[in-house]
């Protein structure tokens, strides 16, 4: 019974099941010194799927998505992103990093560059785009996230919500196939959370493959195709949203939901 709801392909709708795999994690293990953060994670993310990862703090959710774009190096198991396996191969690392966008809890905008330069830096130097083209794209993206007027300001002059939207635009400027969100709203004041979530919803609707670590249950329920619940470095349950919230299969999930809802 246990195997069925941690099966990486569990709870896939027929439509999603027919699609290609975008991310494939098999038996991923990761140690920090003597602490094992991931204890053999199996996970599949389909193309254009929105997957939300839930779990108590310290459960390894952030470590997992940081392994997916190799900010952390996993020590055992395989991670295959868009058909490329993550190994020590320099070519693969470069390729995957420019195909996987990431948004951080602390925004991590470059404080010494203007908003526009923040967004165009990677397209110009990594994608090797002409400057004018990169700037045009940047302005378009800023319009999409709703702050075209802030282009020439420095990050320090923006509110938290605006900074996070710039960070999203910065990632999108690389035209990624996958977007990873690492608790994008945790560092925001309550009144700014919705503006960031709205941008993420639009992004999900536009068909972006997304893996989102968050504590926003409303967002998870509304936008996610599937939910993953992790605890102590293990995947405990993979389920579609309705089932997850109304009829969780694992006792641990039930306990977690009872604490948080």
């Amino acid at each position: 019974m246990t195997a069925s709801f941690t099966d990486p392909n569990a709870a896939l709708s027929p439509e999603l099941a027919a699609r290609d795999d975008m991310i494939n994690c098999r038996g991923v293990k990761k140690w920090f010194g003597d602490f094992q953060a991931l204890k053999g994670v199996d996970l599949t993310v389909k193309e254009k799927e929105v997957m939300v990862v839930l779990g108590p703090s310290g459960s390894g959710k952030s470590t997992l998505i940081r392994c997916i774009n190799r900010l952390e190096v996993h020590q055992e198991g395989n991670i295959i992103v868009d058909g490329i396996e993550l190994t020590n191969d320099l070519r693969n690392i470069d390729k995957i990093r420019s195909e996987v966008g990431m948004v951080f809890q602390q925004f991590n905008l470059f404080p010494h560059l203007t908003v526009l330069d923040n967004i165009t830096l990677a397209p110009i130097w990594v994608r090797k785009k002409p400057k004018a083209e990169a700037e045009a794209t940047a302005l378009e993206l800023l319009t999409r996230v709703g702050i075209p007027e802030q282009a020439n300001k420095f990050p320090g002059q923006l509110s938290g919500g605006q900074q996070q939207r710039v960070a999203i635009a910065r990632s999108l400027a690389m035209e990624p196939k996958i977007m990873l969100f690492d608790e994008p709203t945790s560092a925001l004041d309550p009144e700014m959370i919705s503006e960031v979530l709205d941008v993420m919803k639009t992004l999900a609707e536009s068909g972006m493959t997304m893996v989102v670590v968050t504590h926003e249950m409303g967002f998870a329920r509304e936008v996610a195709d599937r939910l993953v619940f992790m605890e102590e470095g293990n995947v405990v349950e993979i389920n579609e949203p309705e089932g997850f919230f109304t009829n969780p299969k694992s006792d641990r999930t039930k306990l977690f939901l009872s604490q948080i809802l």
Binding site: D7, P8, N9, L12, A17, D21, N24, R26, G27, K29, W31, G33, D34, F35, Q36, G40, V41, D42, T44, Q75, E76, G77, N78, E85, T87, N88, D89, L90, R91, N92, I93
Partner: protein, 512 residues
């Protein structure tokens, strides 16, 4: 089911494929580092063989034997102005450096503290004067200041036999300052041993007195007892210190025993120590990586560290047996010498007086000079000290001001609210806290003053750099001289940072 396409359980996953070597980030990382290491070591090796070849082509073989040969130079001042060997000359220079550094550190701290406090004063004039002191002195190169002092001090008047200010006691002239000298006499070490014993007795008496006070209340007599015991002992032992003269015999025995160790034994002991240290380090490292579930996954870096510890131990062993076997015999000889020196401090027939004093004298003749009896600060040393102390004090003053200002304003206010006066607040609340902030940069200044004693060469004072320079000019043994300079200054730097770090650690504990 779609599960058929990919391996599912974590035990069945495929092994990671290895990328080709030239694209493997892990391999490239180590390759680049090892290439850099080989390049650096290779360049250094090439340059040093080149230097040795060039020297030998010029008839000079670099080494350390000449240190035991005659010095053929005279030192301007120091513990031994006519040294009988080159090594002794360098040693005398080092002592001069150390003396200057210690005196300089003490004086510049006192001056810096005074100026720093004046800089914080409410009094406008004191504040301004301190600020002028700081801004003037720290913006003029210390070498220029030293030369200025030398020029000024050498023009204050010629030395004559009856020169004052207090003729026969304190003499100031263009040759420097001379005053009465107090020095350690024959009985000092015997006396010091006895005073140490008295100290131990005092410690136990204090402990029992304090315990009694805790039991019965009232005021402790510990302070009075300390003064009484130590005072009486100091006076009594002043006269009867030869009673411990017998200590010379056991010390002599230790010296003989140490000197009798065969060289291979010493080499074996040292090798065992090196190997033991490496094994111990690796074991502790592995233990720190051990978890209840077994040994954690070791990263490349972890392996590298362990290999490096092993290589370091191996190198140490090679150095001990192959490259520098003399090190072991040096340790044997100098250890034996050390105990011999200690043994010589004790013995029968020594004068009882621990300390002695002499008045300054002025030698007669056409060129009057200070005699050896008094304590003399030559004009060269004075110029160097003035320059170093004023320059360094201006930095220390700023450090102290910064430290005091950095102590939160709330602390000052809290102290005032408790009814402490300004000076009480300064002494009891602010300074102890400021001390912690001030210690690291202060240590840096102490290091600077120690390194700057090397400017002695500019005033012709015989410090280790000046002595080394004049020796090397004669025999072209620059390589050895440079190595000695490096070792000396690195030892000084290390000692100072050790002391500063220890004090820092202590302060951190006190705070908790």
């Amino acid at each position: 089911m779609a599960t058929a396409q990919v391996p599912q359980s974590s035990s069945a996953h495929a092994a990671q494929q290895r990328p080709p070597l030239w694209r493997d980030a892990g391999v490239l990382k180590w390759f680049a580092q090892i290439v850099a290491l080989v390049l650096v070591v290779g360049t250094l090796w090439f340059l040093s063989t080149e230097a040795v070849d060039n020297l030998e082509a010029g008839g000079i073989s670099p080494g350390t034997e000449w240190l035991n040969g005659p010095a053929n130079i005279q030192l301007s001042e120091g513990i031994d102005t006519v040294p009988n060997s080159a090594g002794r000359a360098l040693w005398s220079g080092m002592v001069t450096n150390l003396r200057l550094a210690v005196i300089g550190i003490i004086l510049s701290t006192i001056l810096g503290l005074a100026v720093g406090l004046a800089r914080l004063s409410n009094n406008w004039l004191a504040n301004k004067a301190a600020s002028i002191f700081i801004e003037t002195l720290r913006n003029i190169p210390v070498l220029v200041q030293i030369l200025l002092w030398l020029t000024i001090l050498t023009s204050i008047g010629a030395l004559t036999p009856d020169r004052g200010p207090i003729s026969g006691w304190l003499i100031i002239s263009q040759k420097g300052v001379s005053g009465p000298r107090i020095f350690l006499a024959d009985g000092f070490y015997q006396w010091a041993v006895l005073m140490g014993l008295a100290g131990v007795v005092t410690y136990f008496v204090r402990k029992s007195l304090n315990a009694k006070r805790d039991r019965e209340g009232g005021t402790s007599q510990a302070g009075k007892a300390t003064v009484a015991i130590m005072g009486v002992s100091a006076v009594v032992f002043w006269f009867i210190n030869p009673i411990v003269g017998f200590l010379g015999t056991p010390l002599q025995a230790i010296s003989d025993g140490w000197g009798g160790i065969p060289q291979p034994v010493m080499q074996a002991i040292l090798s065992a120590l090196a190997a033991g240290a490496a094994v111990n380090w690796i074991r502790r490292f592995l233990n720190s990586r051990r978890t209840p579930a077994g040994l954690a996954k070791l990263t490349d870096d972890d392996y590298f560290r362990m290999i490096f510890a092993g290589i370091a131990a191996l190198l140490a062993v090679i150095v001990l047996w192959r490259w520098w076997p003399g090190l072991s015999s040096w340790i044997i000889n100098s250890g034996s010498d050390f105990w011999q020196v200690a043994a010589d401090k004790f013995g029968d027939g020594r004068g009882a007086r621990p300390l002695d004093g002499m008045k300054p004298t002025v030698s007669e003749g056409r060129f009057a000079n200070y005699g050896p009896t008094g304590w003399t600060l030559t004009v060269f040393a004075a110029a160097l000290l003035f320059g170093l102390v004023f320059y360094t004090a201006s930095f220390i003053a700023e450090i102290i001001r910064g430290g005091i200002l950095a102590v939160a304003k709330g602390q000052t206010e809290a102290a005032a609210a408790l009814g402490l006066s300004r000076s009480q607040a300064l002494r009891k609340v602010i300074l102890p806290q400021a001390f912690r902030i001030v210690m690291p940069p202060l240590g840096n200044q102490y290091l600077n003053i120690t390194k700057n004693t090397s400017l002695a060469i500019a005033v012709g004072l015989s410090d280790v750099v000046q002595v080394g320079q004049s020796l090397a000019n004669k025999n072209n043994q620059f390589l050895t001289v440079f190595a000695i300079w490096m070792l000396f200054y690195l030892a000084c730097s290390l000692t100072i940072s050790l002391i500063v770090n220890t004090i820092n650690a202590r302060l951190a504990i006190v705070e908790r």
